[in-house]
Symmetry: C2
Subunit: 403 residues, 2 copies
C-alpha cells in the first residue's frame, strides 16, 4: 500500500483541510493518508482548541487513515525543527511522499529556491549579516537577503513572504538536509481571503479565522459553513461536555501562578526564556489580569507574539531547556488513531518502519521524548479541568482511536 503524508494541526479541521487531503491522495495515487499532527500545544505556542483525541477523531472521520503525534519537542518549536520532526516521522512510517499546501502551488519553484540558497550559502549568510547590522530584525534580514539573491536568479523561485510557502520550504529543506527519499508535493492553497476574518460568502476560511469566530462568543454557530459536518458534530460534543473551548485565556490563572511562583533565575531555566525577558515577564504578569494583557505588555519588535507564546508554553508546562534540547531525532511513532484502511497499512508495513510504533503509552518503556508528551498532555488536562471543572483523558488512559 502506498502512503502520502501530511503535516497538520487541525485546530480545528476545516473544509480547506478536507480539500487538501483529497487532492494529496488523488495527486499521488496513494492508498492511505497519514497525518503527523501536533499534540495539545501547537506551533504558534498555544493550547489546542480541543484535545488531540478530539482532533484525531475529526481527522479520521474526514479521510485521514493514520494520525501520529508530532512530539512536543517539535510541535512547539520554530519552523526548522518543527519541519525536521514532522518529515522524519512521515519518512519513518513509510510515506513515499508528503503533500503541503502552498500559495505557490507547484513544486519546482520550491526546489529552485532550495538550490539557490544552498549553492550560494556563503553569499546569502554574508548578506543576512549585512542587513542585521543595519538594525532590522533577523527574520526581516533573512527575507531581504533572499530577495536580493533571488533577483539574479533566472529559474522561478518562491515568494517567501507567504506563510505556507515558508513552511513548505522548511519541509523540503528538512528532507534534503536529512537526505530522505520522501518526495515533496504541493497543493495550491485555496485562498481564505486576504485577512484572517471569515467571509460569510465562502465555504473556506483559515483555522485562525475559524478560531476567532468561535472565540467571539465561545460558540460554533458562525462556523458551520467552513467545516465538514463531522467536525461540527465533534466540536458540538466537546461543547456539550466541556462548555467552553480552550485558549490561553482559560489557562491564565495557572500561567500567572507559574510565572510569579518563580524567581527570575528559576524562570530562565525554562525553554525559550532567554536574554533577560524573565524580568519583563514577571513584572508584566504582576500587573496583568488576562493573558491578552500580559502579551500586550511584553510584545515588541524583538519578541513577537508567537515567540512569546512558545516561551510561555514551556513555562506553563514547566519544561526546561535541559529537558527540551537533549534530543537529535524523533525516537518513536506515536499512534493516535487509525481507520480500517490505516490499520491494514500498519499490518502490512510496520516491519519496515524505522522507528518503534507506540500504540499504548501505558505499556511503553520509559522514553525521554515521550515523557515530555505525556507531561504536556497532563498539563493541558489540568488547565481544562480548571477552566471547565471536567476531567479529560490523559495519555495513559487513551488507546488509539479506531474508526
Amino acid at each position: 500500500m502506498k502512503a502520502v503524508g501530511v503535516v497538520v494541526e487541525y485546530n480545528p479541521f476545516h473544509n480547506g483541510h478536507f480539500y487538501h487531503i483529497s487532492q494529496s491522495k488523488s495527486k499521488t495515487q496513494a492508498d492511505v493518508v497519514i497525518a503527523v499532527m501536533s499534540g495539545q500545544f501547537l506551533q504558534r505556542g498555544e493550547p489546542a482548541l480541543v484535545s488531540k483525541y478530539h482532533r484525531t477523531k475529526m481527522a479520521l472521520m474526514n479521510g485521514v487513515d493514520l494520525v501520529i503525534e508530532l512530539p512536543y519537542v517539535y510541535s512547539t518549536a520554530h519552523a526548522t525543527l518543527f519541519a525536521e520532526g514532522a518529515i522524519q516521522l512521515l519518512d519513518a512510517i513509510g510515506c513515499k511522499s508528503f503533500a503541503f499546501g502552498s500559495e505557490e502551488g507547484s513544486i519546482s519553484p520550491f526546489l529552485n529556491t532550495f538550490d539557490l540558497i544552498h549553492k550560494q550559502n556563503e553569499h546569502y549568510n554574508s548578506l543576512i549579516k549585512q542587513y542585521v547590522t543595519t538594525g532590522i530584525s533577523y527574520p526581516q534580514s533573512l527575507f531581504k537577503a533572499y530577495e536580493e539573491l533571488r533577483q539574479k536568479e533566472s529559474a522561478k523561485t518562491i515568494d517567501l513572504s507567504q506563510p505556507n510557502n515558508i513552511l513548505g520550504y522548511h519541509y523540503i529543506e528538512a528532507a534534503k538536509r536529512l537526505n530522505l527519499a520522501i518526495e515533496p508535493i504541493t497543493i495550491p492553497r485555496i485562498q481564505a481571503g486576504f485577512h484572517e476574518d471569515i467571509n460569510p460568502d465562502s465555504s473556506i476560511a483559515s483555522a485562525t479565522g475559524i478560531r476567532k469566530a468561535i472565540a467571539e462568543n465561545d460558540s460554533i454557530e458562525n462556523i458551520k459553513q467552513f467545516v465538514p459536518q463531522h467536525t461540527f458534530n465533534e466540536l458540538e460534543s466537546w461543547m456539550e461536555h466541556y462548555h467552553t473551548f480552550i485558549s490561553w485565556e482559560k489557562f491564565w490563572p495557572y500561567l500567572k501562578y507559574a510565572i510569579l511562583r518563580n524567581t527570575p533565575q528559576q524562570l530562565s531555566q525554562y525553554a525559550d526564556v532567554n536574554e533577560g525577558i524573565e524580568f519583563a515577564l514577571i513584572k508584566a504578569a504582576k500587573r496583568s489580569n488576562s493573558f491578552n494583557e500580559l502579551m500586550n505588555a511584553i510584545k515588541s519588535k524583538r519578541y513577537t507574539w508567537t515567540r512569546l507564546q512558545r516561551m510561555v508554553t514551556h513555562i506553563y508546562t514547566g519544561i526546561t531547556k535541559e529537558a527540551l534540547h537533549q534530543f537529535t531525532n524523533p525516537t518513536y511513532i506515536r499512534l493516535l488513531g487509525m481507520s480500517q484502511n490505516g490499520q491494514a497499512y500498519l499490518s502490512q508495513h510496520k516491519k519496515e518502519f524505522s522507528l518503534p510504533l507506540i500504540s499504548r503509552v501505558a505499556s511503553t518503556k520509559d522514553d525521554a521524548m515521550l515523557s515530555l508528551d505525556v507531561h504536556a498532555t497532563d498539563m493541558y488536562a489540568l488547565g481544562v479541568e480548571l477552566a471547565t471543572g471536567q476531567k479529560i483523558a490523559t495519555d495513559y488512559q487513551t488507546p488509539p482511536i479506531r474508526m
Copy 2:
C-alpha cells in the same frame, strides 16, 4: 516604656488570646504588648484563614500595641527554628519579657526541665538513640528519653506531652541558647476542653476548634461566643468581601498544578521535600481531587500531617531549600501595625532596637529574608484571587495599620 512580648498566629484571634494578653500585661506590669505574628503561612504549614493585615487589625483592636511579622523563614519552620526567630525578634524590639500560655502554668518547672536536659545532655542523647533503634519514631524516642531522665529528678519538671508546654520549652531554650536577657513568663492556659471541638457551654475554644466550626459551613455563625466582638466584625467584613475563608482546599488547584508541573528531581529542590517523598507526592497528586485526599494518600507514621503541610507550603510558594536555608538570624523587624500606645513606644525606643525597623516594604532596599515574605504574600494573594475572584493587598501596597 516597658514592653512584654507574645508569639502568636491569631488564626483567628479568640477569647483565650484576649485573656492571655491581659494576663501578660498585668503580670509583667508592662506598658505595651508586642506580638510577633506569623504572616500568611503558619507553623502547622497552612495558609491563614484571613490575611495577616486582617489578623493584625484583630490584634490591635483587642489590646496588642505593636504587631511585627515573624518572617516566612521562621513562621513555617519546626518548633526550634520558629521559637528562635520569634524570641530573637521580641528581644530585638526591646521586650524585657515574653509571655506564653502553657498547660503547666508556672515558670520554674520549665527552667528545671531546661537545666535537666542540658546538664545531662550526653546521657539524654544516648537514651534517644537507644529508643530510635527499637523502631519507634524520633519524636516518640525523644519523649521516652525525657520521661526516663525526668524520673530521677527531684525538682518539678514539665509534662512534654502537652502541646503548649512543648512550644514554651522551645521559647525558653531559644532564649537561653542565644544568651538573651529577655525573661520568660508563663500564663496558665484556660483549657479549651480535651478535644478540638468547640463546647457550646464555654466562651473559650481553641483556634483549631474555631477554624473547624467555621469550615463546617464556611460561616462564622457558630463561633460568636468564642471571639471578641472586634474579631467577629473583622471576620464578617472579610466574608462580605471575599465570600469564603481561606484553607488549603481553596488553594488546591494551584497546589496540584505546582506538584504535577515538576519532575521528581525538580520537586526535591523545594524546602522540606526530602527522602524521596517527591515520588509519592506526584503519584498521590495525580489521583487526588482535593487537598484532603492528597494528604490522606501520603500521610504515614513517618510523614505526619504537619510535616507534609510544611512541605507543600514550600512547594506552593516555590521556595527552595537553597533560598530558605541561607539565613542564621532575623535581619529586620517588620512592622505590620500599631496602636497609639505602640507608636509612642516606637518613638521612644526605636534607637535601641538591634535590628532595622521596616515600616514600608516599598521603600526598603533588597533583603533576601524579606523578599521571601513578600513572595509568600504574593502567592497567598494569587490563591485568594483564584478562590474568591477578589484581589488582596500585597506587601508593596500595604503600610502599617494604625489604630
